[in-house]
């Protein structure tokens, strides 16, 4: 079942093998533990709340954390979307950044849905 989840993630352009080798000492069990922890991480919810209240700082902090998470787990599409949003915040284009939220949300939900189905 876990191999299937990894295949599923790879099918979503996640670089699971690279992430496992780089950050998890090739320990699949720990990697999958962290993949499931991804569902419990509050960053996405914090980002949604911040976007709703138009709180730039909070939104930038949340998307920063989300980006790091995606990077560590090798969720490349999510890494790309969150990196774009963070970059927009950093160059002061908050409206542009807020406009990217839906892309981040969509990719996040795809990963979350995939993982949840293997829980």
């Amino acid at each position: 079942m876990n191999a299937t989840l990894i295949e599923k993630l790879n099918g979503m352009d996640a670089e699971t093998q690279e992430a496992m080798e780089r950050s998890f000492m090739n320990d699949e069990e720990t990697y999958l533990e962290c993949v499931f922890d991804f569902l419990e991480d509050p960053s996405m919810q914090m980002l949604s709340d911040a976007v709703e209240t138009r709180d730039e700082d909070a939104a930038a902090r949340a998307v920063h954390t989300l980006k790091g998470l995606a990077d560590s787990l090798g969720f490349m599409p999510l890494l790309d979307e969150s990196a774009d949003m963070l970059r927009a915040f950093r160059k002061g284009s908050s409206e542009e950044a807020f406009g990217m939220y839906e892309n981040v949300r969509r990719v996040y939900d795809e990963f979350a849905e995939a993982i949840r189905s293997y829980r």
Partner: protein, 467 residues
């Protein structure tokens, strides 16, 4: 499973990061985790942390604040800190300036993380272990020096300085119910002069060991002068207990002298002060015990005298101190009683301090007149005075009355009498009204009546056994 020697604190608000770091180091460190800076500080104060991997951007208290707080804390400032940061955060410079030891980029490369953390911590831990060893050696040396300064080189017990220091500490906590015994080795000069100094040293060593063995954990034994010892009984509990302990030491001392080949029947003299109320003034207690020791020596040595702390106070106002005598010497050097006059002299010493005890030695034999009578005893028996008591003696009784804890003297006297061809018929003491005052097979008396003092009474018929 091996117990891990070192502890790592991983502080990161993202659980995945905490898990990753823990995975890398879980085989070599006890891992403690924190979700923010405040939790990290709590963990640092709660646990003995050897290294910290610290995220910079965290809620509540960020990584910069944690570094500053740790480096400002005297107890924590030496802990190596490795920060974790995203490559483009550019926070490593500030963190290093604040005192972080190194940084690692996210996403973590487990090999880089492992190498960097190990490089930092191995150096630190090695230095700390060296320092710990130095500190332990220093402490050991300091303890050895202290011991040397406070220990008597010959006997291994405390010397005067050590004894006083230790007893002073004790008096601050345990003075009420304690007792101080000053001990003088009787005729020690004779031992040195007649048998040589090695024998004198042997006697001192054996006595010190005996005092140490005879005391309880927490009691203090010291050699405070050439042939002077002192014993502090932390929980004597009562004046009688303190006196009993002194008598036990006198008995042991006499045994030791015989064991090592000293033929003279000498022992030790003991002055005791019983401390029944809190007293931290060691000098005051010394003075009282010294007075008691003087009394013991005046009474022929080889015995103990005890003065209670409060009695000493009344003595200063001119009253007679309430002195309890011991005649322990009488059974450890019993051979001396081959000479009756010596026995008389010892009993006389006892009678002189008849407040709570006394002795009566009456003899019907020619040349052995009534010698000493305790007024306390005379009254206890119902007689008006000694003359009246004498008048009722029918010429065939000998009496010896000693303090209540001297039951063993009965056995000694039995042997004495047996050597003279006499035997002990019974123990009793006749009252004026013809009744028996107290009777016990072992010579011990029952409860005192009408406030009369409790005495051990021995009444002997020393007539010839004949056919």
């Amino acid at each position: 499973m091996n117990e891990l020697k070192y502890t790592m604190l991983v502080a990161d608000d993202t659980k995945v990061n905490r898990t990753m770091i823990s995975r890398i180091f879980r085989d070599r460190y006890n891992i403690v985790t924190a979700e923010n800076g405040l939790e990290a500080m709590e963990a640092l104060r709660r646990e003995k942390v050897d290294v910290m991997v610290l995220d910079i951007i965290m809620p509540e208290m960020d990584g910069f604040e944690v570094i500053a707080a740790v480096r400002a804390d005297e107890k924590l400032k030496g802990i190596p800190i490795i920060i974790t940061t995203a490559e483009r955060e550019q926070s490593e410079r500030r963190a290093l300036e604040l005192g972080a030891d190194d940084f690692i980029y996210k996403p973590f490369d487990s090999v880089v993380v492992e190498k960097r953390v190990n490089n930092i911590t191995q150096k630190y831990l090695l230095e700390r272990e060296k320092m710990d060893i130095l500190i332990r050696e220093h402490e050991k040396r300091a303890a050895a020096l202290k011991r040397q300064a406070e220990e008597d080189g010959l006997t291994g017990v405390y010397n005067r300085i050590g004894f006083r220091s230790c007893v002073r500490d004790n008096l601050k906590k345990h003075s009420a119910g304690s007792a101080l015994l000053l001990i003088d080795v009787d005729e020690f000069k004779i031992v040195n002069d007649k048998y040589g100094h090695p024998m004198g040293d042997e006697l001192l060593i054996r006595l010190a060991a005996c005092f140490r063995d005879a005391t309880e954990p927490g009691d203090v034994v010291g050699r405070i002068g050439g042939d002077e010892f002192a014993v502090f009984l932390r929980s004597a509990g009562s004046r009688q207990n303190a006196l009993n302990k002194a008598n036990a030491l006198i008995f042991q001392a006499a045994r030791i002298r015989k064991e090592i080949g000293l033929v003279e029947n000498h022992s030790i003299s003991v002055g005791v002060v019983y401390v029944h109320k809190p007293e931290e003034d060691l000098e005051a207690l010394y003075q009282i015990a010294d007075r008691a020791l003087y009394i013991a020596k005046e009474n022929g040595k080889g015995c103990a005298a005890v003065i209670e702390q409060a009695d000493a106070g009344s003595a200063e106002k001119g009253d007679q101190p309430d002195v309890f005598q011991s005649i322990a010497v009488k059974y450890v050097s019993v051979d001396e009683y081959e000479a009756p006059n010596k026995l008389y002299a010892d009993i006389a010493a006892l009678v002189d301090h008849e407040i709570h005890g006394g002795a009566l030695f009456l003899s019907a034999q020619e040349g052995y007149p009534i010698k000493y009578v305790s007024q306390t005893l005379v009254k206890a028996l119902g007689y008006q005075n000694i003359e009246e008591l004498k008048s009722v003696c029918d010429g065939k009784w000998e009496y010896l009355i000693v303090q209540e804890d001297r039951a063993h003297i009965v056995g000694i006297l039995k042997r004495q009498l047996a050597r003279k061809g006499h035997y002990l018929l019974e123990y009793r003491l006749r009252k004026k009204d013809g009744g028996i005052f107290y009777v016990r097979d072992n010579g011990m008396l029952g409860e005192p009546e009408n406030g009369q003092p409790t005495l051990l009474c021995l009444c002997m018929d020393v007539g010839d056994i004949g056919e």
